[in-house]
């Protein structure tokens, strides 16, 4: 973990208002694990003030990813002022990045078949996790939900070996409807589930028909101040009181979380 000035290698629009920025910062690229995030300063002035948390999509440190060892990719959807500023970055620009931060996903030792469920940009850490899992020769299925075809990430973002199943809210690509509707048919196949996406999607996981115990980890989102565990701005209610998404998470065991 460090604060570093990462240099922009590329910054390309891969879906409607969705960009992948490739950054070079060897220490950060080396250390990052799937599910961890970086905290990015957008623009050089006091407005917008706070950094933006963004998951790491892939790192050169994993030889499976075809990018130089000192580089890593971050994917962002342009939803507000900070991400809009990022979309104007050009190769050669410097970005102030803090990270990697947070607890990564943990693949259980016994896991052979990993089911990943992502909504929107929530699939970012799952792609990273898929790469880690493939390195360990697991079978991986990624179920991904998007608003529509224009917002869907191109299939080449996902490793070839992964079974990649897409659902869109409006049916403009893949299955029509919520991605969670796809899960039941994989429940018997999978021996671990990892998910990331909007809160309603994650909450729906608690209501899946369960015939046996399926260890489930989820990556949560909350607005962040420090991302270092001090401001207590990013907490979520858990069975052991409020936990910090930035430090105790973003990855939590599903059963820990108390849903409101």
């Amino acid at each position: 973990m460090k604060t570093g000035l990462a240099s922009v290698i590329a910054n390309d629009e891969i879906a409607e208002r969705v960009y992948v920025v490739r950054l070079e910062e060897p220490d950060q690229a080396r250390d990052v694990r799937a599910g961890q995030f970086v905290h990015v300063k957008c623009g050089g002035t006091a407005d917008p003030l706070l950094r933006r948390p963004l998951s790491v999509l892939r790192t050169g440190a994993n030889p499976r990813n075809r990018l130089p060892a000192g580089q890593y990719d971050v994917l962002y959807d342009v939803v507000g002022r900070g991400t809009d500023l990022l979309s104007h970055l050009r190769p050669g620009d410097l970005v102030d990045v803090l990270g990697p931060l947070g607890q990564p996903f943990q693949i259980e030792r016994t896991t052979k078949r990993l089911l990943l469920v992502g909504g929107g940009v929530g699939i970012v850490p799952l792609v990273a996790l898929a790469e880690e899992a493939l390195r360990r020769q697991l079978e991986v299925t990624l179920l991904a939900g998007f608003r529509n075809a224009r917002k869907a990430f191109p299939a080449n973002l996902v490793p070839e070996e992964v079974e990649y199943v897409v659902a869109t809210d409006d049916g403009s690509l893949g299955h029509a409807g919520l991605v969670t509707a796809l899960i039941p048919s994989y429940l018997n196949w999978a021996d671990q589930l990892c998910a990331c996406g909007p809160k309603p999607m994650l909450k729906a996981l608690t209501e899946l028909p369960r015939t046996r115990k399926l260890p489930t980890q989820i990556a949560m989102e909350e607005h962040m101040g420090c991302a270092m565990g001090v401001c207590l701005g990013c907490v979520v209610p858990t069975r052991h009181g409020y936990q910090r998404v930035c430090r105790d998470g973003p990855v939590f065991s599903l059963e820990e979380i108390i849903w409101s």
Binding site: T3, A46, L49, R51, L98, H223, V230, G233, C234
Partner: protein, 316 residues
């Protein structure tokens, strides 16, 4: 060669001498160890802990923070581990550091403040106490202690009586006359004043047509409030003769110099650390460079210099 060290409690036996005038602000540096991987905490002038209350507190519901232009609102609700855990688990860690740790304390009755202060003041590892009087006073229909000279003085006096370590009192800016409160608190025994705490603010979520924060209002911090904080430090510096610790929106050496020249003996940095974890150490280094390049031997010579100059240069 140049001297960066300042004394925050000249009236007190301990003096509370710091090696430099840059402190971590309460609530923005946890219990001091969270940033250890990023910065050398022992290079700071001092660390002020998150507010400690008698009992552990869960804090407010989400959302707790909102970004605003050059600022942020927070409504954490004083989430903290409580006095017992602080004494048992945090203080021993503090005692092992060379950097002094100032315990920020909060309460909802005078009695709560007194009990927390009494215990902490006897706890090794606690170099001083900072009294956060921006808390709702249960006995006055939840009006903050810090909003009147009388209640601010009352809690200061009672805490002073049980507090052997130096006592800083942290003022709320949300008052008509900050000077009146400052005088009352100094008369009641404060060794130093910290100002300012956050300014109450609100953001409305126009999509959902309701206040964005679960707590409705939150405290505004960050660069947005800096001109207000500098003005208050200036006003209070003309009126009291104890050291002032300036806080509010410091993000650079120049910002810290503004507070010092306005009359602060030291600065605290809060939101600035969130934005750039290196801010505090950058300011320590920057002050050193400034003194050297301006040929000033002692940072103490800069404290309040703007008021002395303004007297000669303006007819104000």
């Amino acid at each position: 060669m140049t001297n960066l060290s300042v004394e925050l409690a000249p009236r007190h036996a301990s003096g509370l001498s710091l090696k430099n005038p840059v402190l971590a602000a309460s609530g923005t540096f946890g219990y001091g160890n969270e940033y250890a991987k990023l910065i050398d905490v022992n290079r700071l002038g001092a660390v002020v802990s998150k507010a400690i209350t008698l009992r552990p507190r869960e804090g407010n519901a989400q959302p707790r923070i909102a970004e605003t232009p050059s600022g942020m609102l927070n409504a954490i609700g004083l989430q903290n581990v409580g006095l017992n855990v602080a004494v048992r688990e945090k203080a021993p860690m503090w005692a092992s550091w060379s950097v002094p740790v100032i315990a920020n304390i909060a309460g909802f009755t005078v009695d709560e403040y007194v009990r927390v202060a009494e215990t902490l003041s006897e706890t090794p590892g606690v170099a001083a106490i900072e009294l956060n009087i921006s808390c709702p006073n249960v006995a006055s229909e939840g009006e903050m202690f810090g909003l009147s000279g009388a209640s601010a003085a009352l809690v200061t006096r009672e805490v002073r009586a049980v507090c052997d370590v130096p006592l800083l009192v942290k003022l709320s800016p949300n008052v008509t006359d900050i000077v009146e409160i400052a005088r009352a608190v100094v008369d009641a025994g404060a060794d130093a004043l910290t100002l300012i705490n956050t300014i109450p603010g609100m953001v409305i979520d126009v999509r959902r047509r309701q206040p964005y924060l679960a707590n409705l209002t939150g405290g505004l911090s960050g660069p947005a409030i800096r001109p207000i904080a500098v003005r208050m430090v200036w006003q209070v510096a003309q009126a009291v003769d104890v050291p002032i610790v300036g806080v509010g929106g410091v993000a650079s050496t120049d910002d810290a110099l503004q507070f010092i020249m306005a009359g602060a003996s030291a600065v605290q940095i809060g939101t600035g650390t969130f934005v750039n974890p290196g801010t505090m150490l950058d300011v320590v280094d920057g002050l050193q460079v400034f003194l050297e390049s301006e040929g000033i031997e002692d940072v103490n010579d800069l404290i309040g210099v703007a008021a002395r100059r303004a007297e000669t240069n303006f007819e104000a």
